[in-house]
Structures are given as structure tokens and as C-alpha cells.
Symmetry: C2
Subunit: 335 residues, 2 copies
């Protein structure tokens, strides 16, 4: 690699200072989400758990942090053409909202058959949805067509410098102010470790920058049915996911390059969990915290329940990634 290319590559991977810069940049428009605790859950886990509630973030997920940072980092000429992405999940809605707040257009390529609730979310924020066949090749072709037709900056859902830095701000808030909300039990001391769900690695990568800088242990958690991050960490290279099968629809993707570059250096381990564990953890959160958490957001708690807390960790911070649960899929409500 030439020196120039090395510099280029280095610019592509954010550092802790970029998370701090993102926090300042996005503060005016992101929500400072609460931290909640549950003595019942602590008892079941065998450690105190502090849940950072990104299900209460705007657009219902942490994704709004990264999308905001990406959109706000554009110069005015860059922003003028709008933004676009491909996403079947929360990133599309988050990008549409971030774009609307900057008064620029957003286009989201979505596979046909994506949950209607996700499509409605993008449209409710003024984003345009372009449908494509449900394959990665079709997605990328559709995105190229969109960019070719009207320009616009592509904001990748996770393999993006500003997106990773933005996602890290949730962990930064959690470590810098772990005090639970006024209606919850306080913690007995500081958080020793972070447990974070991992799909493409935007949230885990950003959280790992923060955890490592603050001297905390960082663990990823993913479904056994989409265990590419665990296998990639073990192999020392990205192993793409094949035929992922899990209820945690936010964690179906393979690790990105930038994300893996951070994760392999700063994440202690990645734990996998069964589908039963995910559903049990989700239910426990609904029942005990009275918060609607989507399956992906329950995966770190599932890891704590299935594997136990890491030895020496008395208090664990968990990023609850989102709350966009498709109530239709639960045949809900029932009379």
C-alpha cells in the first residue's frame, strides 16, 4: 500500500475523538435517552445491568445518531443533492428524518416485501422509497441507478466513517452519565463492561472506540443464526454471513470493513445466542421495564442470560438498540 493509500484508509476508520466530535455535532437534534434498571433483571443476570434506551431515540433506534452525524458532516454543496441508501430496516427511516431536518431529499432503496411498517416510517419522514428485488445485487444496482439519475451522497448503513462515529455517542452518554432515570434503582458504582448487539458493526464499532478509550471491556452479542461477527473475530478476517436465520431482523448483515478494523482491535469477545434466548430476553424487558424493545435490542441481555456476566464484571452497560417491533407480526392486538 502506498503512503497515500494508507492515509486514506486511516481516514476511513474513526477514532475516539471522532465520536466526541459527533456528539457535539448531533447534540441539537438527537434525544438524550434515559438509562433504566430493573432489580428483577439484575437478579436473573447475576449482575447489575444499565440499559441505555435507544428504543426511545428519534425514529425508534440508535441509527438516528449515525445518520444525523453523516448528514450534518456534509458541506452545503455536498448536501444539496440529498442522500440515499439501501436499508430494509431502521437506517432508512433514520436517514430520512436526518435529511428532513436539514431540508434535503432522501431516497431509500428497500427490498420488495420489507415490512410495511418500515416503509411507512421512511415515508412518514418525507423519504422516497425505491423498491428492488430482495438480493444484495439488486439493492446495489438500484442504488447506483438512483445516484446516477439524481446524484446524492450514499450513506452506508454501517460501513461509513461518520455513521460509526455517530453510533458511538450512545455508549459515550452511557459511560459518562450512567445514572439511571429518576424512577429506577440507582447503580452501586460505575459500569465495568459494555454489551452491544452486532450486525454490520456500526454500533459495536462506535461503542468499542468509546469503551476502549474509557478503559472498559467491550463485548458484542449476535444471534447464533447470524454468527458472522463471532466467526470473523476468531478467523481474523471478515467471513460474510450466509443464509442468516433469526428473529433479530436488525442483525442480518455481514460486518463492514471499517467496523471490523475497530472490532478486531478493541472488542474482547463476541457471544452468540439462541432464538429462544432472544425471545425470552425481549419478553423480560417488556415485562420488567415496560419498554417495547425489538428483538435485536434484546440480544445483549440474551447473551448475559445465556452465558452469564463476564467474571469480574459487577455492572454491565447494555445498549438497547431499538424499539421498532412489528406488532402486526405478533398478531397484536388480540381481543
Amino acid at each position: 500500500m502506498t503512503e497515500g493509500a494508507a492515509r486514506e484508509a486511516a481516514r476511513g476508520v474513526p477514532a475516539f475523538a471522532d465520536v466526541e466530535a459527533a456528539a457535539r455535532r448531533i447534540a441539537p437534534q438527537v434525544r438524550r435517552t434515559p438509562v433504566v434498571t430493573s432489580p428483577d433483571i439484575d437478579r436473573e443476570v447475576g449482575a447489575e445491568v444499565a440499559f441505555k434506551c435507544e428504543n426511545l431515540q428519534r425514529a425508534g433506534a440508535f441509527k438516528f445518531r449515525g445518520a444525523s452525524n453523516a448528514v450534518l458532516s456534509l458541506s452545503d454543496p455536498e448536501a444539496a443533492g440529498g442522500v440515499c441508501t439501501h436499508s430494509s430496516g431502521n437506517h432508512g427511516a433514520a436517514l430520512a428524518l436526518a435529511a428532513r431536518l436539514r431540508s434535503i431529499p432522501a431516497t431509500v432503496v428497500m427490498p420488495a416485501g420489507a415490512p410495511r411498517v418500515k416503509r411507512r416510517a421512511v415515508e412518514s419522514f418525507g423519504g422516497e422509497v425505491v423498491e428492488c428485488e430482495p438480493t444484495l445485487a439488486a439493492r446495489e444496482a438500484a442504488l447506483r441507478t438512483v445516484v446516477g439519475r439524481r446524484g446524492g451522497r450514499v450513506v452506508h448503513p454501517y460501513d461509513d466513517f461518520h455513521v460509526i462515529a455517530g453510533q458511538g455517542t450512545a455508549a459515550l452518554e452511557l459511560l459518562d452519565d450512567p445514572r439511571p432515570a429518576p424512577w429506577c434503582e440507582p447503580l452501586a458504582g460505575p459500569v465495568d463492561a459494555l454489551f452491544v448487539p452486532v450486525g454490520g458493526g456500526g454500533l459495536l464499532g462506535g461503542s468499542a472506540l468509546v469503551g476502549a478509550h474509557r478503559g472498559r471491556r467491550v463485548f458484542g452479542a449476535e444471534p447464533a443464526g447470524a454468527d458472522d461477527a463471532m466467526r470473523s473475530l476468531r478467523a481474523g478476517r471478515i467471513i460474510p454471513v450466509e443464509a442468516p436465520d433469526t428473529v433479530a431482523d436488525g442483525l442480518l448483515t455481514s460486518l463492514g470493513e471499517r467496523n471490523f478494523a475497530i472490532i478486531r482491535r478493541k472488542v474482547e469477545d463476541i457471544l452468540t445466542v439462541s432464538e429462544d434466548s432472544i425471545l425470552a430476553a425481549m419478553r423480560l424487558l417488556w415485562e420488567r421495564t415496560k419498554l417495547v424493545v425489538e428483538p435485536s435490542g434484546a440480544v445483549p441481555l440474551a447473551a448475559l442470560l445465556e452465558h452469564g456476566p463476564p467474571p469480574g464484571c459487577a455492572r454491565i452497560g447494555v445498549v438497547v438498540s431499538g424499539g421498532n417491533f412489528d406488532l402486526d407480526a405478533a398478531r397484536f392486538p388480540v381481543a
Copy 2:
């Protein structure tokens, strides 16, 4: 009525000062629950709505306020024999928890066939459950047997001086500090009216004492399938509910005497809602606030959606009564 009897009757119905006294008494052990808002819900209602989240109260419902006030109002000799009640719902668990916090026994008479989740809640707080046939006569007979066998003070779920005063503290907090939680949109001004669910009338009675004293309009909301409170208010006398039929399992009971004495003087109107409205309102709360709300807790929002806000009311305070939704009944989770 003799003068003594009149004094006795007067003592039986709390006033605003009793709510204030209750607030001081129970402050050390109740949670100061947050107020949340949702711009999406405001748009659908056509007014700003401030939700006081008693689903985040200890034991998952406002009932812990009244039960705490009743238990903490007992003298030591009165408390020594413990407390008992009959309840198929949240009051039983709330009383068991309040008793445990004072280290006295609690017995809860429950109809056979009550949801297992309710029974487990009482037992998880150390309360004893005594089963009876699912009729009012059997409940009362079982309660008499319990009292005869081991003594103990009966704490009625709603027709009780201290219970009503305690339940009013949620509205007191809401009116005295209506600022939404940090992650929510602020309100543009003070709350003009209170919307409160009504079953036996403990919450509505206590809230009406507060609302009237603070010069706010107070409305009750109940299912059309259990519309005794509306009919009682119209008739000027208590009309017991017959064969109530509603998903709002917290609102099945008839108004109590003390409760009606307050409601008839201080509540402007009682609005009834359809089952479809209740389920739609519950779903809207789950989706937009990411909070698990039980059907009874969604009834005031259902009334706002079905009837519209009262003319002249720009901002409405709603007491979300509880979050003890039986996830089993929703066939949840589904894989």
C-alpha cells in the same frame, strides 16, 4: 343522619389536603414516574397530550400509591396483624409490596382462574394468595374467613379513604410538574384538563380532588362495555355494572360510595369508548412511546381519539394507569 354519623361520613371521603398528606407519606417509597409526549399522538388527537406513566410505577401500576398510603397510615398496633384484600388485578400485588416494605403480612383473595401472571405478582412480593370462586359473594366470604382466622386490616381496592388519597398523588405530580422527560418534546404550556380511566373510581376520585383544587377540568373514561360510571353520573346515584365485557380488565368493577361522592361533584363528564378504540389507542402508545401499556391504561387516549379533545383544551394530562399486560394472552412472543 345524626351529627356523629355525618362527621363519620365526612371522614370517609378524602379532600385535597389528604392527597397532599399522602404525597408526603408515600414519597420515600413510590417512584416519581416520568411524563412523556409524542408529536405523532398529538397530531392524531388534535391537542397536546402529556402521559403520566404509572405503568412505570412499582408493581407496574398507580395502585401502589394508594396501597402504600393505606399501609403507611396504619398505627403500629393496627399494622401488626397485617393487611388483606380481594383483588383479581393490580391492587393485590401493590398491597403485597406495600406490606412487604413495612414487614407485615398480606393476604390476597383471588378468584380461581385469575391470570397466572397476577397471582405470580402477588407471590413475588411475598403475599399469600387465597383462591375463591369467581363471584362477588364468594370473594367477600373468603375475605371474611381470612379476617376471622388471622385478623388483619382490610384495604379495599378503591372504596377507601387512604387509597383514594394515595391514588390522587399521580395527578398531583402531573399538574405540579408537567415537564416531559428529557427525551421528549416539551409542552407549550400548562395542562388544561385531566383524562383518567375509571373502574371503581379510586384513581378518578383522587385525581378529581387534585384537578378541582388546581382549577382544571377533569374527565373520566371507561369502556362502553362497563359504562356504570357514566350511567351513575347521569342518574345521580350509583348504578352497579352488570355483566361487564371489555378487554380493559382493570375497569370491570362498579363505582364505590366514597368514589362516587367525589366524582359526582368534581368530574365534568365520563366518556365511553369502544373495544376497537381501546386496542387502537393501546397500539398507538406501544408504537409511538415504546411503552408497554395495559388496555385500561389506554382508555383515556381512546376517549380522546374517539370523541376529540374537549373544546378549549389545548393540553391534556392523561394518567396511564398501568403496564401489566398479559403477554401470554397476546400469544406473544411469536417466532
